[in-house]
C-alpha cells in the first residue's frame, strides 16, 4: 500500500463514520474549541494589563478579558443582537452572511478535493488567482457595457473568469500529483506562496491603480458589483451572491451523488484500487477534481472582488484556510458545508465585534480554526469521553495547548539525553 493510499484510508475514517455520529463529533468539537477559547481568553487576560475598574473577577482572581462578554459578543454580536430589539439585517448580521457566502465557496472547494482523497490546501492560492483574474477581466469588460445590462452581463462573466483561472491554477498540483507523483499537500502550499508573490508583483506593477497608494487594481464601476438586494445599507453583502452559494451547494451535491464523475470522485477517495479496477481513470479524476476544486476557490475570489472590495488588493484574508475547517467540520459533505459555513461565518464576523467591544485580539478566531480541526480529527477522543473513560485526557490537552504560547523559563530537554536511550 502506498503512502497516498494510506492518506485516503485516513480520510475514509472521517467519511465512513455514521452521519449522526459525525454531527455529534462536529458539535462536540466546536463546543470544546469554544470552551478552550474561553480558557485562552482568561489566560490572555492574566497576561495583559488593565486598570482595576476594567477587570472582572472570577473566584477572587482578576482577569482583564471577560470570556462571558467575549462569547456574548462573538455569537449575539455576530447575529446583530437579535435579543436587544431593534434588529436590522443591515447590521453585523449582513457581515456574518458575507463571511458565510465566501466560506461556502472555499468550504465546497476543500470538500470536493477531500472527497476525492486529495488534500487541497491550496484553496487560498486558487482564490487569490481567481480574485485577481476577475478584477482585471471585469475591469476590461466593463468598458464595453454599462447600467443594468452591464450588471447582468458582468457578474456571470466575472464569476466565470474567477472559476476558469482558479480552476487552471488548481489543475497544476493535479497534474503534478497525477503525472509526477508530487505530494499535493506540499505543492498546493508552495503554490499559495507563489500566487501571493506573483499577485503582489502584478498589482504593484502593471495592474496597479495609479490613483491609489495601496497595491490594488483600478476599482470596478458600481454596476460591475453584486447588487445589494434587501441589504441596502451595506454595500459589501449581496443576497444574490448568497443565493449563488446555495445553488453551488445543491449543484455540487448533485454532481457528487448523481453523476458518473461524482461516482469516480467518491470511489477514488474511498477505494482508489477498486476505483481503478472498476475502470476509473485515476489520473484524469485527480486532475479534474483539483481543477473543479480550484474553480470553486476561484469563484470565492471573484465574490470577494465583486461583492466585498470592488477591487483586488494584496493581502486577501485567509478564507482558503478557513475553508479547510469548514469542510472538515462538515465531514466533507456539501450539505454540511452550508451549516458549517454559517457557524464559522458567525465566528469570523463575531471576532470583529469582539475586537470593538473588548481588547481581545482578532487572531482568536485563527486559534479556534485550528482547534476545531484538531478535535474533529480525533473521533476516538470523543468515543473515549462518551464511554466515560479517561477524564484526564481532556485536561492534558488543555494544558498542552496553552503551553504552546505561554512558556515559562523551563530548561528544554537536551537532544543528547534522548539519544542515549
Amino acid at each position: 500500500m502506498s503512502a497516498a493510499d494510506r492518506l485516503r484510508d485516513a480520510l475514509d475514517r472521517l467519511v465512513e463514520a455514521s452521519a449522526t455520529e459525525r454531527i455529534l463529533i462536529s458539535t462536540a468539537a466546536l463546543v470544546l474549541s469554544v470552551l478552550l477559547g474561553a480558557v485562552l481568553v482568561l489566560v490572555a487576560g492574566r497576561m495583559t494589563t488593565c486598570t482595576a475598574g476594567e477587570a472582572v473577577y472570577y473566584l477572587g482572581v482578576g482577569f482583564c478579558y471577560d470570556p462571558v462578554v467575549v462569547f456574548d459578543r462573538l455569537f449575539l454580536g455576530a447575529l446583530g443582537d437579535p435579543l436587544s430589539g431593534g434588529w436590522s439585517p443591515d447590521g453585523q448580521f449582513s457581515v456574518t452572511l458575507r463571511e458565510t457566502t465566501l466560506l461556502l465557496f472555499t468550504g465546497l472547494s476543500v470538500a470536493l478535493a477531500f472527497r476525492a482523497g486529495i488534500f487541497n490546501i491550496g484553496t487560498q492560492g486558487q482564490m487569490v488567482v481567481g480574485a485577481l483574474a476577475t478584477a482585471i477581466g471585469v475591469l476590461w469588460a466593463s468598458s464595453f457595457v454599462s447600467g443594468t445590462v452591464g450588471t447582468v452581463v458582468l457578474i456571470p462573466f466575472g464569476v466565470l473568469v474567477g472559476a476558469t483561472f482558479g480552476g487552471l491554477y488548481g489543475a497544476v498540483p493535479g497534474m503534478l500529483k497525477a503525472y509526477a507523483d508530487a505530494n499535493e499537500v506540499i505543492t498546493t502550499i508552495m503554490l499559495n506562496f507563489i500566487a501571493t508573490g506573483v499577485a503582489l508583483y502584478l498589482v504593484s506593477g502593471v495592474f496597479k491603480d495609479p490613483n491609489s497608494a495601496a497595491n490594488q487594481t483600478v476599482p470596478l464601476p458600481e454596476f460591475a458589483r453584486f447588487p445589494a438586494v434587501l441589504f441596502g445599507g451595506r454595500q459589501d453583502f449581496s443576497l444574490v451572491a448568497l443565493a449563488f452559494g446555495l445553488l453551488a451547494i445543491g449543484a455540487l451535491y448533485y454532481v457528487l451523488e448523481h453523476t458518473a464523475f461524482g461516482y469516480d470522485v467518491r470511489t477514488s477517495g474511498v477505494q482508489p484500487e477498486a476505483a481503478e479496477y472498476g475502470g476509473v481513470d485515476a489520473e484524469r479524476t485527480v486532475v479534474a477534481s483539483l481543477a473543479l476544486s480550484g474553480a470553486l476557490g476561484g469563484v470565492a475570489g471573484a465574490m470577494y472582488v465583486m461583492m466585498v472590495l470592488g477591487t483586488f488588493q494584496t493581502g486577501i484574508p485567509s478564507y482558503g484556510f478557513d475553508g479547510i475547517t469548514v469542510s472538515i467540520l462538515a465531514g466533507n459533505n456539501p450539505l454540511g458545508v452550508g451549516v458549517a459555513a454559517l457557524l464559522f461565518g458567525v465566528l469570523k464576523s463575531g471576532t470583529t465585534v469582539v475586537q470593538f467591544a473588548t481588547d481581545v485580539p482578532p487572531q482568536l478566531v485563527g486559534v479556534l480554526r485550528g482547534l476545531v480541526i484538531l478535535f474533529v480529527a480525533m473521533p476516538e477522543f470523543f468515543r473515549m469521553l462518551a464511554k466515560g473513560l479517561p477524564g484526564r485526557g481532556s485536561r492534558r490537552e488543555a494544558v498542552a495547548t496553552d503551553g504552546g504560547a505561554v512558556t515559562g523559563g523551563g530548561v528544554a530537554d537536551d537532544e543528547g539525553g534522548e539519544a542515549d536511550e
Partner: protein
C-alpha cells in the same frame, strides 16, 4: 531484543524489494538532478570568470562570495533543524506535517522568554519548550487518540499560526514583538581567515549547534539501538512489538524529539534577528514545509537532508542578494524562486518511499 528488531527491519527491506525498480529510477533522478545542479553551477562559474560584466559574472560573484555562504548557513538553520525533526517523526511512523507550526511557536516563545528574562539562551530554551509541548500534544492526539496524522498536523500548523500572533497581540499590542538582544557570532581563530569557507568558522552559535545536531542524528540512526527501534517502528511495528519494545513509546519519543529539534530551529530563527514578526504567514513563511521537501529529497538521511537544505537556503541567500543588486528581474518574482524550486524538486524526485507503516495507527497486540 535488538537482534529481533533488526530482523524486523530486514523483513521490511524484503517486502520493499518489489518496489526496487521504482527505487532505482528515483535514485537516478535524484543523482541526475544533483549532477545537473553541480554542472550548471560549474558552467556558471566558468562563464562568470570569462565574462565578469555579464549576468553570469554577477551570479558567479554572488555565488563565490563568503557572505553568500554565511547567509546560506544562517538561512539553513531553521529549515535543517525542522527537517531533522521531521526525519525522527516520520521514520517512527508519524508524519509530522505540523513542523511549520512548531517553528512558529518556538520562534515566538524564544523571543517572549528572552524578553522577560533578558537571557538569549534562556529564551532559546523557552522556544524549544514551547515547540516540545505542542509536539507532545500532537503526539497524544495522533498516538493515543488515533487522529489522522495529516489533518492533525494541519491543525498544529493552523493553531500555531493563530496562537503566536494572538499571544504577541495580547502581550505587546502588535503581531510583531519588540526586539531583544541577539547573541554575537562565534569565530574560530585562523580558520575564519580561509577564503569562502571561512564563513563556516565565523557564524552564529546556532550554526554550530546545527552541525552537532546533524552529526548526532546520523549517529543515533546508524549506530544506536534507539535508532533501530525508530526505524522498526516506522517500517515494521509488529516486529518491534514482538521484540518487546513498545511501539507507542518509541513513537512518543520520536515525535517529542522532532518537537525539540524544530524548536531549536524556530528559536534560532527569531533570536538571530532578535524579533518575532507575526503578520500573514509569520516570519517562518513556509520554512517548515520546505523542510519536509528537504528531508524527502535527502531520502530521510540527516546528512542528505542537511545538504538539500543548504541547496534551498543557498538559493534563498542568492535571491536575497540579487534582490538588492537588481538583475532586471523584479524583486517580487525573485522572492518566489525557492517555492518554485521546491515544486520542481518534488516533481523530479516524485514519490519517495515513505516508511512502510507511516501514517498508520498501530494497535498493540496483547
Amino acid at each position: 531484543m535488538s537482534d529481533a528488531s533488526a530482523d524486523g527491519v530486514g523483513d521490511a527491506d524484503g517486502a520493499t524489494a518489489a518496489e526496487g525498480r521504482g527505487f532505482f529510477e528515483r535514485h537516478t533522478t535524484r543523482a541526475v538532478f544533483a549532477a545537473v545542479t553541480v554542472a550548471s553551477v560549474a558552467a556558471l562559474l566558468v562563464a562568470g570568470f570569462l565574462f565578469p560584466d555579464s549576468l553570469a559574472g554577477t551570479l558567479a560573484a554572488v555565488l563565490t562570495s563568503e557572505n553568500t555562504l554565511a547567509a546560506a548557513l544562517r538561512l539553513s538553520v531553521p529549515i535543517a533543524f525542522a527537517a531533522l525533526g521531521g526525519i525522527f517523526a516520520e521514520k517512527s511512523g508519524v508524519i509530522n506535517i505540523g513542523l511549520e507550526g512548531l517553528l512558529i511557536v518556538s520562534a515566538f516563545g524564544a523571543i517572549y522568554v528572552a524578553d522577560v528574562t533578558g537571557g538569549v539562551w534562556i529564551g532559546f530554551a523557552g522556544g524549544v519548550l514551547a515547540s516540545t509541548l505542542l509536539a507532545a500534544l500532537f503526539a497524544v492526539v495522533t498516538i493515543q487518540f488515533r487522529a489522522d496524522q495529516i489533518i492533525a498536523g494541519l491543525a498544529v500548523w493552523l493553531i500555531a499560526l493563530g496562537l503566536a500572533p494572538f499571544a504577541s497581540q495580547v502581550i505587546y499590542g502588535s503581531p510583531n514583538t519588540p526586539t531583544v538582544a541577539t547573541s554575537p557570532s562565534v569565530s574560530v581563530p585562523v580558520l575564519e581567515e580561509i577564503p569562502f569557507f571561512g564563513a563556516l568558522f565565523s557564524a552564529s552559535p546556532s550554526v554550530y549547534l546545527l552541525f552537532a545536531a546533524v552529526a548526532l542524528s546520523w549517529y543515533v540512526f546508524e549506530r544506536t539501538a534507539f535508532g533501530r527501534w525508530i526505524r522498526a517502528s516506522g517500517e515494521n511495528p509488529e516486529a518491534l512489538d514482538t521484540a518487546g519494545v513498545s511501539v507507542a513509546r518509541v513513537r512518543y519519543a520520536a515525535v517529542i524529539i522532532s518537537g525539540v529539534l524544530a524548536g531549536m530551529g524556530g528559536a534560532a530563527l527569531s533570536l538571530d534577528l532578535g524579533q518575532f514578526t507575526g503578520n500573514g504567514p509569520t516570519m517562518v513563511n513556509g520554512k517548515g514545509f520546505i523542510a519536509i521537501v528537504a528531508y524527502l529529497f535527502g531520502n530521510y538521511n540527516p546528512i542528505g537532508a542537511f545538504l538539500s537544505t543548504l541547496l534551498f537556503a543557498g538559493l534563498d541567500a542568492v535571491q536575497t542578494v540579487l534582490q538588492l543588486q537588481g538583475i532586471g528581474v523584479p524583486r517580487q518574482l525573485i522572492r518566489i524562486t525557492p517555492f518554485v524550486v521546491v515544486i520542481v524538486v518534488l516533481a523530479l524526485v516524485g514519490r519517495t518511499r515513505l516508511p512502510e507503516a507511516a501514517g498508520e495507527h498501530y494497535d498493540t497486540e496483547e
